[in-house]
């Protein structure tokens, strides 16, 4: 299976488990989208932003002695975006409306992020 196809399967499974998600994408750490599933919005822009958040998150984590970076989030009045490290080369981003079940999102997205990391590791 091609990389994008395999990643789309992972994203699709996650979106089925968490119907509240309105977007999910995997991008390279330098901000190019590899796979995405969005209800709306621009995947290129979201990918660049996810990479920026990951890059800053890694440094912030380092500066307070937090060890290896895992995830960061941005929350607004009407929605939130969660950004997860998916191995050394990729980042996973998911978007949900306010009021979504955050526990479930983390559970599924962390799992998806580690699947993405393992899949890219094998390549």
């Amino acid at each position: 299976m091609a990389i994008a196809e395999e990643l789309n399967t992972i994203l699709g499974r996650m979106r089925t488990s968490v119907p509240e998600l309105s977007a999910a994408l995997v991008a390279t750490t330098d901000g190019l989208p590899i796979a995405h599933s969005l209800n709306s919005g621009d995947a290129n822009r979201l990918a660049a932003m996810a990479a920026t958040a990951l890059g800053l998150g890694r440094r912030i984590c380092e500066s307070f002695g937090g060890g290896g970076f895992r995830e960061t989030s941005v929350s607004g009045d009407e929605g939130q975006m969660y950004i997860y490290s998916a191995g050394p080369k990729a980042v996973l981003g998911v978007v949900a409306r306010a009021g979504a079940n955050v526990g479930l999102i983390h559970l599924e997205a962390r799992d998806a992020a580690s699947q993405v990391a393992q899949m890219l590791e094998r390549r």
Binding site: T28, T29, D30, A48, M49, T52, G55, L56, K89
Partner: protein, 169 residues
């Protein structure tokens, strides 16, 4: 603490030498957000660079921007409160010049601060002349100088040039 802190933004197209420039000048460990570039065999900045140095009685905070267009949304954030802009461009690639103009228009339309241009990669055999770069960008020839981003003395010269301009403004 009676030192004055000054914020300066270092901007320019990808590969110009912004991260290198800040590493060369900074007197404290540089915060960098470089990752391997998918499209070239080098590292590229995804969020920002940050370095500090003391010059006379000033503490200078250097904020480096990512050069790739897709990170444009960071420029406005990094520009906030900057006293001046150092725009770097590699002199060996004329295809980057239109982007330099675009970046300079983008920044100055949001915050009209003094700006000087450093033309890097001078050791390259086909490096463009600063006068030509200045006329392309409609800048005064004194505001565009050749620099080696890897060399402390050369990098400092660009900073001094910006300070001259700030003082005259």
């Amino acid at each position: 603490m009676n030192e004055t802190t000054i914020k300066i933004l270092v901007a320019g197209p990808c590969g110009a030498g912004k991260t290198t420039f800040i590493r060369t000048l900074s007197q404290s460990p540089v915060v960098n957000t470089d990752v391997p570039c998918s499209t070239a065999n080098r590292a590229t900045t995804v969020a920002m660079d940050f370095g500090q140095l003391s010059l006379d009685r000033y503490t200078i905070h250097l904020f480096g921007a990512p050069g790739q267009d897709r990170f444009e949304f960071t420029w406005e954030v990094l520009l906030e409160g900057a006293l001046g802009v150092l725009l770097l461009v590699s002199g060996n690639d004329a295809t980057h010049f239109p982007q330099v103009r675009r970046i300079s228009d983008y920044l100055l339309s949001r915050n009209p601060v003094p700006l000087v241009v450093g033309v890097t990669h001078q050791d390259h055999p086909n490096c463009w002349d600063c006068k030509e770069v200045a006329s392309y960008l409609d800048l005064d020839p004194t505001e565009v100088i050749p620099i080696d981003a890897t060399n402390l003395e050369s990098a400092s010269e660009l900073l001094v040039r910006l300070f001259d301009l700030v003082e005259r403004a």
